[in-house]
Amino acid sequence: MSTADAPAVAGPGDPAVRAAAQLVRDLPPSPALWCDGLRKRYGRRTAVDGVSLSVGRGEVVGLLGPNGAGKTTVIKMLLGLVRPDAGEVMVLGRPGSDPAARAGVGYLPELFRYQPWLTAAEVLELHVRLAGAHVPEDERHGCLELVGLATRAGDRVGGFSKGMQQRLGLAVALVARPELVVLDEPTSALDPLGRADVRDVVLSLRQRGVAVLLNSHLIGEVERVCDRVVVLDRGTVAASGTLAELLGRREVRLHLGSVGPDGQARLVAAGPVEREGEWFTVGLPAEDDGTTVPDLVADLVALGVRVHAVEPARISLEERLLGILRAGSGDRS
């Protein structure tokens, strides 16, 4: 077959090819982590039932839920460590069944153990090799420094305390320049200082545009560092959204005197009211344009109510989480 017979192939300079390339470039980047309809049964017990979630590039997502909600199983399915019975996984734009998808993933498991016969520096070297990355030695050492193990680099891991092993695990998760870091209970063995370190690490990852999936019991930590939260309960997604969405309901606490029937009616008109002696808590609408509270106070004064104090109150993530979980168990009972 001569070359004249071959079908014409557009060269890289062809306007159509350039337009197509531009189109591909302009596509939004695939999420760092995405799954749909994940399901897993262990014998007769359904551990995970139809979980779908996604973590955008550079986004920090918290995974919350009670013990046995299926958080760790979901994480293991996302990383190909547990085979899902059903559902799809995409990691950094590749199907989860392809090991190459995990080239840019760092993982700190809930059960963190590293070869006790290796030194800390050797563990990092091993993981860099397995990741197929090239990370110079001083950068690897920098990772140990970041987690506070710089002075123990040459010591065997077998002699490390649990907290030090967890710190090492964090270094392992960070060492191969990941685009996505999955942390499963990263502070379970750490003292308060270590927890603050982990928080700083997560915040610096977010700054560098690294996506993070964080599973933690410490709601306060999650609230401080996460852009979005997914709440799992009994193997299903009970709620998910940005912190603003989940904590959308705001409240105002008022200390009032001489509240007559008109004052009461005005308070109820503003939102759901709870009363404790002279303290009134009024729930505010999510789409508040900033006029609700001043208007309410002005009207109350006009109605002869004595206003002693006005305090904004915010529902904590913990209260919201407990509310979601209690509502869930209420539905089922």
């Binding site: 460590l81 090991p99 998808a101 995990r102 498991p109 070869q115 016969w117 993981h127 090799r129 397995l130």
Partner: protein, 285 residues
């Protein structure tokens, strides 16, 4: 990338063996066995029997038999060592959680398994070859006997170790670390006994009993390889001398291995390794 992972994991396995003192325990056991056998063999040359002093020819004959016996002890040490190393290295790492971070890297599980297997093969074979060679040198120095085919014998012993550790790997994907070692060594012993039973059956001319040995040698090729190794180690005149009276004696092998049997051993290892890889890649961690 894949070859790099295999070599990385193989190197890691060797480093584990050397740092976990398995190597030192093996070295101590082997040194003890070598020392004892050197003492025994040196006494053999001047031994007095009811018929007078052993002639050098008789001494060589007895030495070749004793060499088989000592080599059996050597292969038993290798079997125990590798079987108890192969089991824990895989399922132990899964149980402790060490595998979690390694397998969350961009690696296939079969690649990691291949690396582990390769590391163990190098370790086990290296031990058998070094210890076996040392033993042959001891016999050469004390009695002056050098086996007819040392290279073949050591290769077959290395093959026997490989067969057993592959079985250990397969078992460790299904049962607990310790159990996999115990079962592998148990099967190794059972096949050896079945081989002896088969030999006795053959000597008595009982085909049914003789078949026990043949079948067990096909199911688990360790005993077949061991008999091949013995054949390469023993003095060729031994058979001619003892031939009929000692038929069925467990430390005398009548024939060398056939190419078909060696091919079957390779297929057996590939099959068992494939099963282990399948079981490991389907396992939830």
């Amino acid at each position: 990338m894949s070859a790099r992972t295999v070599l990385t994991v193989a190197g890691l396995t060797l480093r584990e063996a050397s740092r976990r003192r398995v190597l030192w325990a093996l070295a101590a056991l082997t040194a003890a066995l070598l020392g004892l056998s050197a003492w025994g063999f040196s006494r053999l040359a001047g031994v007095e029997t009811d018929f007078g002093t052993l002639t050098s020819g008789q001494a060589r004959l007895v030495a070749s038999q004793l060499l088989n016996l000592v080599m059996f002890g050597m292969s038993l040490i290798a079997a125990l060592g590798t079987a108890f190393l192969a089991g824990p290295t895989l399922s132990g790492e899964v149980e402790s959680g060490i595998s979690l971070t390694m397998l969350a890297r961009p690696v296939r599980r079969s690649t990691v398994l291949l690396g582990k297997w390769l590391g163990l093969v190098v370790f086990g074979s290296g031990f058998v070859v070094l210890a076996g060679l040392a033993q042959c040198l001891v016999v050469q120095l004390t009695v002056g006997y050098w086996p007819p085919d040392v290279v073949g014998a050591l290769a077959l012993l290395a093959g026997q170790t490989t067969v057993l550790l592959t079985l250990g790997l397969l078992l460790s994907t299904v049962v607990s670390p310790m159990a996999s070692g115990v079962v592998a060594v148990g099967l190794f012993g059972a096949t050896w006994i079945a081989g002896v039973v088969g030999g006795i059956g053959q000597a008595l001319g009982n085909d049914g009993v003789a078949r026990v040995g043949t079948v067990s040698r096909i199911l688990l090729p360790t005993d077949g390889l061991w008999r091949g190794a013995m054949h390469s180690l023993q003095d060729p005149s031994a058979l001619a001398q003892f031939g009929v009276e000692l038929e069925g004696f467990p430390f005398l092998s009548e024939a060398s291995l056939t190419a078909a049997y060696l091919a079957w051993t390779v297929v057996w290892v590939a099959m068992v390794w494939g099963l282990a890889a399948l079981a490991f890649s389907r396992r939830d961690l």
